[in-house]
Symmetry: C2
Subunit: 542 residues, 2 copies
């Protein structure tokens, strides 16, 4: 039987027209290089989006064309998001922190036609432009007064580009499955891989991530996404804030500046923010040093990597702010799980249970199917113990990477590369990365848990645990540790430290003290390098 | 450019499998005719849903077949919702309060193959079964111990039907645009008209209506939908509660019983409920009489008709419960607007402004595009003054009615039949029904506002205002009023009552005192009858 419902596509244009009409008066506040506090309304924003759409058309750009951006979180970047995607073009947010070769690779691979850039990244593009002959020109995101001298070809000032364009634009009808944006994920090896979002996936992610037990944005929230807009569309908040009618505060280049963030929170009335742990540490350090408060702030979402308990505690106990763990990745739009513990959990649970509960990565949001599987691909129970590879599927999860035909999914399930168990409350606890997990005697050992345990020792500054081949056990864990300056510890003392803290057979079989550990460009431990270096490590018992 | 996202359909099956896995331990509590307090978990529910799906297949039912239900809100009705829709069949919830001819008409029109009924409605169906030769059989929603003697053909006891079926079922892949449910809307004239929901529209409505500024259901909520499941899928809460992981409490036949509702609220920890104003009045009256409290209750959604301010005030002032207006209709799945005033609005606004704000029907939810238009179809501004016909469109709004080929929408917009203005805060205020509005001198007069003003007079029990043809002004308002027993009022006094309360040209041109006013079967004023009766009313000045 046919449904009688209207056939209406899901598209980003509808977020824009909805917010323009229903929440037109709500403010968007930005810090930019040329303005310490720019403010206007969603209605003002979308008026300029229409001017920009006219300008894009005038540049000769057409549907399906890809446009690159190198920019911080501010109102001009917001305008680009909507003008590009709603014109049927594809917004390619380039991470300006990548190495030159990577920036060159992804601009070339995505086939960017024009690149819009903050003044700060003009130098990078000047170095690269001759390697990018297909880029037709560059638009600098500033006004004439702040326009730099530049050798970029066809360089145009953004404000000049849109100044005389009409304030109306006839938005095209778009297939909901057409591409809206592309974001590259850079692994530790190989070229970055592109994930192409559709209008449909963006809207569904927007709905799912806005539910009360996820970001839960409301008309009465003021949200400040501190996660860069070049990281998975700022976790989608750039779409979900106008959808909810939440006031949007964008810190521009001030994302790591605790003082600037505290000022924005207090002066703009921020209630909800989102970012990686280091951002919250910076804010916390500033607050503790200055004695300032953030009384209007209610909740902080933390993702990107596991957040230490001390940050949860400090915000809760001293500032009455709830920190909430979330987990996801570029391939998931990005939100996969969200941990909203009950408002009264701190009172109804023991401190230990409460701490454990808060540190989980969270429950799957509706729209994400999640399972954990063993090495044979058999699904494991959600019992708080069985640890396995995390696989996901759903309408806002990628099937494959751009221009790589073969599906990245196994039987329709995307391999996240994370290893986790699910507790009986359906909360996920990540224990490792698939490639770092240690396989010993047919069981898995969590390298992360061992590392966390090692650095809990007061003498240890940093630790890495890797699996090294072992004739009897397949692999055994080897601990590599950096000792704090001035501290002393013996190998035996170190290994005894694990007694009673982890299962006996998890205890590292040996330990090597090193002066430093190798890191990737983004600051993560490079276990691949360690595995190469120690692949022939001689076990005592082998 | 092609997106790289997975191609995953939106369907109700995914709500079931999600809730089964993530929220399997959450409770579902029901009152039924055969059990004063049945309780089990979502996981138990979906196990029985799979048994039921096997039973449906065994009855020879196949995809696209329509199955009727005549049932109150309880766990067996919940099981039917999921087993039918997820099998690819269509769940037709029949309103058992309709007249016999209407029940017969809609069962025949929807082509119900089998009908599942509560014991309470067996008599109705026995009267009608010979007029419904295409219905192959009837399943009685009870166990053998409570099975009534019945002449219904092929009568089967529900518990017996599913008892021996397997607990596994291989759910079919469904096109997201395929029909999931059908619901008839009964106007005051003509046959009831069927609205057919799709899996896609159901999921999108589920997302949109679950946002924080709408129903806002969370894992930590306990929700009790008091709106019948035969009214637009219980406002969708039967889908959104498991999606959110909220505990679900279903009052069965006790929907109008204040005492039973209070007991359920307190014993089951209900935090959020939804229903029509008369339900809240019944609860309030019970609470005031008994002196009981409902301390865990946080919010009540009220829809179906405008809720009097006295109910808002009583719940807020005496019981610390927030009443929230919502507006929608069968054709909209049903939610169109929701009024969540800010938590602190009562403190920051004057009482008058706060009252006005709370009584609005609310802001459109994302997924519903809403506009108001004048008689020429020109869109009107949202200025708090311009009143016009309310039109909507969106992916969970109907385009037409079942088996009526022509679109019910005008240029893609569905005519709601309501007249409203939008205030500057994007809150809708309904002022009339399109068919009841009075057109005078090229302007519209709200019959509802005049009626509300009239009944504010202490001598008036009930009032109706209709437009009657006038040679100079097209129409003028005529007031028909019922005087309270023992009260006295003159025509002049009555008409002067409006002075200063409404615009001068709105004041009824004449008044007739009547002993009673005509009502429809559902208790609404029948203005059509009044218009017929007074169509030749002789104006003094004409």
């Amino acid at each position: 039987m046919q449904s009688t419902m209207m056939n209406m596509p899901l598209n980003i244009t509808s977020v824009m027209t909805f917010a323009d009409k229903v929440y037109g008066d709500v403010e968007v506040v930005s810090v930019t290089a040329d303005n310490p506090r720019h403010r206007y309304t969603y209605s003002d924003a979308f008026k300029r989006v229409r001017k920009l759409a006219n300008a894009l058309a005038k540049l000769g750009l057409k549907q399906s064309d890809v446009i690159g951006t190198l920019a911080w979180n501010d109102y001009r970047h917001l305008e680009l998001y909507y003008a590009i995607s709603c014109s049927g073009m594809v917004c390619h947010t380039v991470n300006p922190r990548l190495f030159d070769e990577q920036i060159e690779y992804i601009i070339d691979h995505a086939e960017d036609q024009w690149v819009f850039t903050d003044v700060a990244f003009v130098g990078t593009l000047e170095r690269l432009q001759n390697l990018l002959p297909d880029v037709k020109g560059f638009v600098i995101l500033t006004d004439e007064a702040n326009m730099p001298k530049t050798s970029l070809r066809n360089a145009v000032c953004y404000e000049t580009l849109i100044a005389d364009e009409p304030e109306t634009f006839d938005w095209p009808d778009l297939d909901e499955n057409s591409a809206s944006a592309i974001c590259y994920t850079s692994g530790t090896t190989g070229h970055p891989k592109g994930v192409v979002y559709s209008h449909r996936s963006t809207i569904l992610h927007c709905y799912a991530s806005s539910l009360p037990d996820a970001f839960g944005l409301s008309r009465y929230d003021v949200t400040m996404p501190i996660v860069p807009m070049f990281h998975v569309n700022g976790w989608g908040l750039v779409y979900s804030a106008p959808m909810a009618g939440a006031k949007l505060v964008m810190p521009g280049p001030k994302m790591g500046d605790g003082e600037a963030l505290a000022k924005l929170i207090n002066e703009e009335g921020v209630t909800a923010s989102a970012g990686v742990p280091t951002v919250w540490l910076a804010l916390l350090q500033y607050l503790e040093k200055s004695g300032e408060r953030v009384d209007g702030l209610e909740r902080l979402t933390v993702g990107g990597s596991a957040c230490p308990l001390s940050i949860f505690d400090a915000f809760r106990d001293k500032y009455d702010v709830t920190v909430q763990h979330a987990w996801g990745m570029t391939e998931m739009s990005p939100l996969g799980t969200y941990n909203r513990v009950a408002d009264d959990a701190g009172e109804t649970m023991s401190k230990a249970d409460f701490d454990t509960a808060r540190l989980r990565q969270g429950r799957p949001i509706y729209g994400v199917e999640l399972r954990i599987v063993d090495e044979d691909g058999q699904e494991l129970p959600w019992d708080g113990e069985s640890s396995g590879a995390v696989q996901v599927r759903g309408p806002f999860i990628t099937d494959h990477y751009h221009k790589r035909e073969h599906s990245a999914a196994e039987d329709g399930w995307f391999e996240t590369g994370d290893v986790a168990f699910m507790d009986k409350d359906s909360q996920m606890q990540i224990t490792d990365r698939t490639k770092d997990v240690i396989k010993s005697g047919g069981e898995w050992i969590s390298s992360i848990e061992l590392e966390n345990c090692a650095v809990d020792h007061p003498a240890i500054a940093e630790a890495a645990v890797i699996g090294v081949a072992h004739p009897k056990w397949t692999e055994r864990p080897l601990l590599l540790a950096v000792v704090n300056e001035g501290a002393e510890i013996s190998k035996e003392e170190m290994l005894h430290w694990f007694d009673g803290k982890v299962a006996k057979w998890w205890i590292p079989a040996d330990c090597v003290f090193v002066s430093e550990l190798p890191h990737t460009a983004t600051g993560k431990l490079s276990k691949k390098d360690l595995r190469d270096e120690y692949q022939n490590f001689a076990w005592n018992d082998a």
